[in-house]
Symmetry: C2
Subunit: 251 residues, 2 copies
């Protein structure tokens, strides 16, 4: 019995990723009828939240941390006790640290999970022999080295695509207005092909597992492994952490 | 520009139907980037809401109207201005009229759309020559004649499966703990086969269109028509009404 636990989701970053997290929360819950499912409140209010990669690259002055924190307060007022932001790029330190500071300043009681810390915990537990870990992500996450900051202290080596492939192949798979996952909400053949190219490059570098490090990517790469290399869906890891929170013994 | 419109969704009835409505809201919105999407707050808190069919059949004394109204108040406090309940059975008069009375008593400013009235409006506009309309639904919706109450005043004749098929084939496609849509969240072959049997029976009665009158059914019947007979996805109709609200000229 989870008692009064209510899961909060900041769902507009992006909107389809918010749905994907909600679906994975349901999938990670053992339920035979409606009433068995956990309480979830999801807010998807994307308009006031600037693009996270744009902010990290200096293309917009407004830190998305502030509207994200506002939406976390809305979730907390509505009853949420544990929350997550299904956007990898929002976990870059220049954004996430401000969200945490805003929560602290308002004396928020909300527990905000950290996506990469959950992924690091998952890899250590589920793939104890994997040392060289690839990651596919937006250019914002790439530049901010969000995964490196979480995984390298655990003795893991992070592998990423080269700069040209990152900016001309991987990032457009997510952001292109015509075939990108954010605009389309489904896996276009072009987006999937681009991401498979990135996967192949990481594998060639020796990746023993590849993190799908943008919440839109699992829309296009739905496999759990390719050619024996496990794909780690960061959204599913986050969903499982929300469902299982609080873990026995606390954190 | 929709200004301060925030869409509220009572998403736990059932949880997968709540996701389906949210997805259709995104699909019915013209958007090329995250920020173009409308604001949506969805609460999925199924535990306190008794099964709607159970209530209508006298198997539980607690009217699901009360917890549903509580969740509408939560949505309104969080900023929602127009809301919907993606559960056909919750629109049965013994439930929906109490929800409306609760909202009125609390002087709620929330506009609560009525699913069947939106479906009736849609059929008149999009299928002006259709007169004989079939409906597939739970047994709760079936007994409460929810669709008849909305469609018959518009001169439409409602067709439903016979009692035996309704209770032994159609309802289990939704509710069976092993293969039902609510437990599985995906279209099992058994559920789809059962619903196609129901569709065939309605077509034999002369249905010129068939309403998918339970929000879980579109998970299994994804076609827009079968053998020339249009399928009316009540969830998609509701999503479009939420996106377009307020319609020009008001209601």
């Amino acid at each position: 019995m989870q008692g009064e636990k209510i899961i909060g989701v900041v769902g507009g970053v992006g909107p389809f990723a918010g749905l994907d997290l909600q679906r994975k929360i349901l999938e990670e819950t053992t339920a035979q009828r409606d009433q068995d499912h956990l309480a979830v409140i999801a807010i998807s209010q994307p308009a006031p939240i600037p693009d996270r990669t744009d902010y990290l690259l200096g293309k917009t002055a407004v830190n998305p941390a502030y509207p994200i924190a506002q939406q976390l307060f809305t979730l907390e007022r509505a009853g949420a006790t544990v929350a997550a932001i299904p956007c990898n790029t929002a976990h870059a330190a220049p954004i996430f640290s401000i969200i945490q500071a805003e929560l602290a300043q308002r004396q928020s009681q909300l527990t905000l999970l950290h996506m990469m810390q959950e992924v690091a915990r998952f890899i250590r537990a589920a793939l104890p022999n994997a040392r060289r870990i690839g990651v596919l992500s937006t250019t914002g996450t790439y530049r901010a080295r969000v995964y490196a900051a979480a995984l390298e202290p655990a003795g893991l080596t992070l592998l990423v695509p080269d700069e040209v492939q990152q900016t001309t192949v991987i990032h457009p798979a997510i952001y292109d207005p015509q075939y990108g996952l954010k605009a389309c909400g489904i896996a276009t053949p072009q987006a999937r092909a681009a991401l498979l190219t990135g996967f192949a490059a990481l594998r060639q570098q020796g990746a023993q597992a590849v993190i799908l490090g943008c919440t839109e990517i699992p829309l296009a790469l739905t496999e759990t492994e390719i050619d024996g290399v496990p794909l780690v869906d960061a959204t599913r890891v986050l969903a499982r952490a929300l469902v299982q929170w609080p873990v026995i013994g606390g954190r």
